[in-house]
Amino acid sequence: MSRNYSLTFSSKDVTISCIAIILIVALIISSNIFMHNYQSGSKVVNVYINRKLYDEYSIYLDDLKENEEKTIILKKEKHQVLLDDMEIKVNKNKGIKITKETSPRNICSQQPWINTPGVPLVCLPNQVYVVIESTSIDEPIPLE
């Protein structure tokens, strides 16, 4: 059998890794610049289930008092795609967090509070996506 590459660490590996990391950081920065253009206006917490926005769960952060917390409850009876009922807490200061859900190893509820507009809470096993968005946009941010 042949031996197709070296097993010893070399300076080439450092160079390649640095280039890869720089490219990805550039991607992150440019995406955030692109997103920033959409982040004006009031902030609203939107819940998407199976890629569809459910207005009835939307909460406007301006309507909340300082440190006020509201809970969004998603029922499995209403949304068959859920594994079980889900709870999402919305706090004016802390942001959004999934607090009760059923998923492998409860990975969805281990995500921290998210307070940044555009950065979502994603729970793939339940096909749920919660995000703070700006009211100045009517549709999800397009990728093109």
């Binding site: 059998m1 042949s2 031996r3 197709n4 590459y5 070296s6 097993l7 010893t8 660490f9 070399s10 080439k12 590996d13 390649i16 890794s17 890869a20 990391i21 990805i24 950081v25 991607l27 992150i28 995406s31 955030n32 692109f34 997103m35 998407y48 890629r51 190893r105 990975i107 969805c108 281990q110 995500q111 921290p112 940044t116 507009p117 555009g118 950065v119 979502p120 994603v122 793939l124 096909q127 996506y129 995000v131 999800p140 941010i141 397009p142 990728l143």
Partner: protein, 165 residues
């Protein structure tokens, strides 16, 4: 394909599937979904060391398929595995043919672009550019896991080199 080669490749495939299963039993309690060791990549690195890139691609794809058949199904998890595998394999092959790094460079690139592939897929599914903000943590964890899997693979390969399988 000769019988001996087929048996060896099947062994590496089985190792990859088993490592994937064992890793799925580890209770990761990190806050960012997608953070993991990526032990299954070890089998891909072993195949690439001994065989052609063609076998590397074939065994990697088969591993994703078998894991889906046995454990995860063909839903979103399969899409994520496929996209992560696809992007990481593409970059590994580009590096392999052009720059020719060592096992550490290949493993790092594989780990980093595996995470990026999965993030890009979730971004596409949910039309959410904000998902890219998970990448800094995933970049760090992928870099660490890339070095760990490279170290483990190098240790295994040094011993395998002395043994005729």
């Amino acid at each position: 394909m000769k019988t001996k080669k087929m048996v060896r490749l099947s062994l590496f495939l089985a190792i990859g599937v088993l490592l994937h299963y064992l890793e799925s039993q580890i209770p990761y309690s990190f806050a960012v979904p997608g953070v993991k060791l990526g032990l299954a990549n070890i089998s891909g690195l072993l195949v690439l060391y001994f065989y052609n890139p063609k076998e590397f691609v074939f065994i990697g794809f088969l591993r994703v398929l078998i894991v889906a058949l046995l454990y995860s199904g063909f839903g979103t998890a399969f899409l994520l595995s496929l996209s992560g595998w696809g992007l990481s394999t593409l970059l590994v092959l580009i590096m392999f043919y052009s720059v020719k790094p060592s096992i550490y460079g290949l493993s790092l690139v594989s780990a980093i672009f595996h995470s990026l592939g999965q993030i890009l897929t979730v971004m596409a599914i949910y039309e959410a550019i904000g998902m890219i903000n998970y990448m800094p943590v995933l970049l760090l964890s992928s870099s660490i896991s890339g070095v760990i899997t490279a170290r483990i693979s190098a240790s295994v390969l040094k011993r395998l080199d002395k043994v005729t399988i």
